[in-house]
């Protein structure tokens, strides 16, 4: 089975979102970047080095937080982070200091002496993040860091990832299967589909250009989209509350007003330029059809 094929991209400074459905090859790609998987062909350069040949010289310049919990529950957070700093070549004295500093930085200053098994899912995710940062890597790979988090914890974690990629100056790649997450936190996006790069570029570029018209209704967005499609507009409704119409859409406002009157739909809002990346991608697919 081919997990990844013909993948080519360059990582920019800041936060890059690696987006793809489950099984699209995100974890495989991260494993290749880390040099723990051997590609069947092609070349891979990470920080100017071949991951398979560079060995520990490259790995100690990369921070990695895995998708699932991979830590013994009876180890204290500061000990675990210190241990993995040592495993990446930081001398013991510095490792002790840095473990405390980085745990403070991810918001676990008061909790750093607690065994990991007694921590909440959100706190354990932060410990994973801390051990990925403790050796001050040039590239941080975060594999689904919001897995298992409730919405509030998820937003906190994304804000933290954003801060790490901006205020603290790390180059971060965050993988996720949720477009909204990636859009919220990333400067750039790499979208994987079936093991290939389907789209890549900066979020600003992907969102830029001529804005689509976004229409929000109380209900009936799908029937409104069908009605507009019959009139020649490529409208796409993802749910029954909201639809988007890509440019060129001259005369669309009048058509929408006429349609909501005809279909007796209650209009909430209509404006250009509020589409999400998801809607933009849906619109692209609709246009391609």
């Amino acid at each position: 089975m081919l997990a990844l094929s013909d993948v080519s991209f360059e990582l920019e400074k800041g936060v890059t979102g690696l987006l793809g459905a489950n099984g699209s090859g995100k974890t495989t790609l991260i494993s290749l970047l880390l040099g723990v998987l051997r590609p069947h062909g092609g070349t891979l350069q990470v920080l100017g080095m071949d991951p398979l040949k560079a060995g520990h010289k490259l790995r100690q310049r990369i921070g990695y937080a895995p998708e699932d919990d991979r830590f013994p529950p009876d180890v204290k957070a500061n000990e675990l982070v210190r241990h993995f700093a040592e495993m990446r070549g930081i001398p013991r004295k510095s490792a002790v200091v840095r473990a405390s500093e980085v745990l403070f930085e991810v918001g676990l200053g008061e909790e750093r002496f607690r065994p990991i098994g007694t921590m909440s899912t959100g706190q354990r995710q932060r410990v994973k993040l801390a051990q990925a940062l403790v050796h001050d890597p040039e590239l941080v790979l975060l594999d689904e860091p919001t897995n298992g988090l409730d919405p509030i914890q998820r937003d906190d974690m994304l804000a933290l990832v954003r801060r790490i990629g901006t205020d603290l100056g790390f180059t971060v790649m965050i993988s996720s299967h949720l477009l909204g997450e990636v859009e919220q936190v990333s400067d750039n996006i790499i979208m994987l589909e079936g093991g290939r790069v389907a789209r890549s570029g900066s979020v600003a570029t992907l969102l830029g250009g001529e804005a689509p018209l976004v229409v929000e209704v109380v209900s009936g967005a799908k029937s409104l989209a069908e009605h507009l499609a019959r009139k020649g507009f490529a409208a796409v409704a993802k749910d029954d509350l909201r639809l988007a119409v890509p440019p060129p859409n001259d005369g669309i406002e009048d058509a929408v007003v006429a349609a909501v009157v005809e279909l007796d739909i209650e209009l909430r809002r209509m404006e250009h330029g509020q589409a999400t990346l998801g809607e933009l991608f849906d619109l692209e697919e609709a246009s391609a059809r």
Binding site: L34, V36, G55, H56, R59, Q60, I62, Y64, P66, D68, D69, R70, F71, P72, P73, D74, E79, H83, F84, E86, M87, R88, G89, I90, P91, R92, S94, R98, E101, V102, E105, Q131, H135, D136, L168, G169
Partner: protein, 285 residues
């Protein structure tokens, strides 16, 4: 404001210090592993059992030293190789507790992948764990006999002269390390077959007991040749230690010393091969 007042920059600082290589991480993991299995830096419940077993292993040496203090010079006392006859069950229990604890939690919790993304790879990780089990087992295979030597020497029952004393010391360390390497390597190989400490511990104890029982059947009713005794992982290393100390212990292992040494080395190499295969395949996942 005081003249000594300072403004400290408390923001996150990037690391500008040295980044050490594989050898440092290897030693750090070795030290961490040794401390981990004897419960140092962990809560009291992880210290109790290792310290009880270590105490049991040391107790006979202290008793022998006490006997040496009261025995008239020249009284025949148990030799250094004889010591293992008293403590071999403690060594089995100690190895069955420590070897699984060294590698099973990392496999069970999936921490191995974290090591693969550090300075260490599967084989350097494995080498650190092997060195750790050898060091840990030396606590009970070398330490008590050195106390016995020290006690005997102090009370006039030890070797005569510096040269003989040094040779005895070398034999004790060599014999103890032989046991540590032999038992430690096999126990670690057995532990690598499962993620569960309890299964691994049971497997180690059963393996040591069953190899003795199997030998009894092979050499008894089945009348197998003498070399079959080399499969006995229970008596083989003990007999090798006897030979190191210039004695013959087990009549069932009445084979030349080179054959015993080759068989013991074969067992250790086989155990390391099992470990290497297990971690090589783990590294390819």
């Amino acid at each position: 404001m005081s003249a000594q007042a300072q403004i400290a920059d408390r923001r996150f600082q990037h690391y500008l210090g040295p980044r050490l290589g594989v050898a440092y991480s290897f030693l750090a993991l070795l030290l961490h592993s040794v401390r981990w299995v004897v419960g140092l830096g962990r809560s009291a419940r992880y210290k109790i059992v290792p310290f009880i077993v270590i105490a049991i292993a040391y107790l006979p040496s202290l008793v022998l030293v006490v006997i040496a203090t009261v025995a008239p010079p020249g009284t025949p006392l148990p030799g250094y190789a004889d010591y293992y006859g008293f403590v071999i069950p403690s060594i089995y229990i100690f190895v069955a507790l420590t070897a699984p604890e060294l590698i099973c939690p990392d496999r069970r919790h999936g921490t191995l992948r974290m090591y693969w993304t550090s300075n260490l790879g599967p084989f350097t990780y494995l080498a650190a764990k092997l060195a750790a089990i050898w060091v840990v087992l030396s606590i009970v295979t070398v330490g008590p006999v050195l106390i016995q030597l020290f006690g005997y020497s102090l009370f006039g029952q030890g070797p005569h002269g510096l040269t003989e004393g040094l040779w005895t010391f070398v034999h004790i360390v060599g014999g103890g390390l032989t046991l540590a390497v032999f038992f430690g390597s096999i126990a670690l190989a057995v532990s690598s077959l499962t993620d569960r400490n309890a299964f691994a511990s049971a497997g180690i104890i059963l393996g040591f007991i069953l190899s003795g029982a199997a030998l009894g059947i092979l050499q008894g009713p089945l009348k197998a040749p003498a070399w079959v005794a080399l499969v006995n992982v229970n008596q083989l290393p003990q007999e090798l230690v006897n030979r190191i100390h210039g004695a013959h212990g087990f009549t069932t292992l009445d084979l030349p010393t080179w054959e015993l040494s080759a068989a013991a080395a074969g067992w250790v190499v086989a155990a390391i091969a099992v470990l290497a295969y297990r971690y090589w395949s783990e590294g390819r996942r």
